[in-house]
Symmetry: C2
Subunit: 324 residues, 2 copies
């Protein structure tokens, strides 16, 4: 199944998720609705709802719970983007002015809080469900991950396992939860939910390692070349970590000296940093991303054969092969 | 029972709440623990846990649930203070440097998010409880209240009912929830919980109207006179609303002109604004605060006679009679 095949397979249910999200945009204060519509309402890849629906399909049927859980997982993701843009003082995200740049930090912090509370109103509205405490724990890990990212900024001697802990908390845990809650909604068995968790965690790791790689080797549509945003923001990612760990001392010193400049000149990136990191860090990182994707596929393969399982396996293939 | 009597009555249980809060300060990222200790760990009036414990006492016994709910209500309150200080760009709160001024907005937003998630981890950890969805709904209302506060800033024609809606969401709802969850933990009946809600809502309204009054007539220890912070921040409170509604046209025009200055000179406050607002708005506001306190007392009086009920009634008396 190629990506179009996957999209076609879940499209009717994705439309239901979209309708669910739009029903959640109404709020008692006008600016909340405006910011909701501007952020979550404006669309996006909806990768987490897709994982939720495919997981439900892999162990049973998509029902109303799977639809609303898919929507709420996307709302949690949106809150982290909104608060993240405040943290990074970002003015644009994917070419669009951020909410904080448009409405100011103050309102944007509070709208994030409101959206987050609303997810918990949904989660706690009608008695106990197994997904409720899972999602609460996941959001805690995500906040810890965001804080690790700040703590690790410009930490040039970051260890590989610190980087993995960071991206697990920041990215992979929510993707794992998206898979688990989809499976739970569809009535999956204990071992099936465990397999979906394993799938989602490894899928998330593969996704983030690839994302970090694309920042330095990807084909940015606007620039026609990689953007190197992470390095400019002091984010230490796997290719740099591995380059610093494996380059001979002279090259290692040069990389360190170049990346630790307060403002890195574009010329240094193009002519010095890029060749060095590509030489010592890129292939290794691609290999690790592929390993994570393989682990995700192996986890999904333990599920009974179904169209949902097939789509999960193909998604894991796709996530490491994309080039933007 | 005077305030000391109330404090003595619940002191052993308040110490258990304090110990509970301190057990929650451990976190996987060092800076989270530091900020937790600096904010919630540094103490405070702990008014909301006190309401929770007194309510439990009024309808039954304080048990472990009442202790941990008291602690979690205080954590929710602390998150709102932390995010509020970011919103107001405050550098000090009660004479102490704020977390955002000390650690920066970015970290402080995320530590607030972390603390908030942790409350929901507690709330959803062991099956369904009636207080879980109540607290989720309350936090949603609180975010909406904070946003109303921004929306209503420098809105000089704010109506009294808009002001009441704002302070209900911002302040009274959490105090009502603190009372209700204490009562629920102690096994109170439906009508008892309803009475505690009525008590807490009216107590909270009396508290906030009085707080807003003290900003313009209270004896600030540092200044030796009222601080008038709300007006400087463009917050429209009851005394101003009533003054603008009831002053003769000439005085009304003068007030409007004075308060809508971009920067209000201290001299204008001392010699012009203060006398006008005191003439037209203060007695009326005191009267409404007393009315709310009376309604709170009436609600508590419907509970069976007990030391807890007596303390709730005395607290409502105290909340409007304090002068700082």
């Amino acid at each position: 199944m190629n990506l179009n095949g996957i999209i076609e397979f879940i499209e009717p249910d994705m439309k239901r998720v979209e309708a669910y999200i739009h029903r959640q945009l109404a709020a008692p204060v006008q600016v909340i609705t405006e910011i909701f519509e501007y952020t979550v309402g404006a669309g996006g890849k909806r990768l987490r709802p897709a994982l939720c629906l495919l997981s439900a399909n892999a162990v049973g049927q998509v029902n109303e719970d799977a639809i609303s859980l898919g929507g709420n997982v996307e709302l949690v993701h949106t809150v982290t983007l909104i608060h993240d843009d405040i943290v990074d003082e970002s003015h644009t995200r994917r070419g669009k002015t951020t909410a904080n740049a448009k409405w100011g930090n103050e309102i944007t912090v509070l709208v994030g809080d409101y959206m987050f509370s609303k997810v918990f109103v949904y989660l706690t509205a009608d008695g106990f469900h197994p997904w409720t405490s899972l999602l609460a724990q996941t959001t805690t890990k995500m906040s810890a991950g965001e804080l690790l990212e700040i703590e690790f900024r410009r930490k040039w001697d970051l260890a590989e396992e610190e980087y993995f802990r960071l991206i697990q908390y920041k990215t992979a845990e929510l993707m794992a939860a998206a898979c688990q809650v989809g499976g739970m909604a569809a009535g999956g068995s204990g071992p099936e939910i465990e397999a979906l968790k394993e799938y989602g965690l490894n899928f998330g790791m593969a996704f983030q390692v690839t994302d970090d790689l694309l920042d330095i080797v990807g084909d940015n549509q606007r620039l026609g070349k990689p953007v190197w945003n992470d390095l400019r923001e002091g984010k230490v990612t796997l290719p740099l970590i591995h380059a610093l760990e494996t380059a001979p001392p002279a090259d290692r010193e040069q990389i360190l000296q170049l990346v630790s400049q307060e403002q890195i000149p574009q010329h240094d990136i193009d002519t010095l940093i890029s060749p060095l990191i590509c030489r010592y860090g890129v292939e290794y990182s691609r290999g690790l991303a592929a390993d994570f994707a393989d682990k995700a596929k192996a986890a999904a393969s333990s599920l009974p054969d179904s169209r949902g399982r097939k789509a999960l396996i193909d998604m894991a293939e796709f996530v490491v092969s994309r080039n933007r």
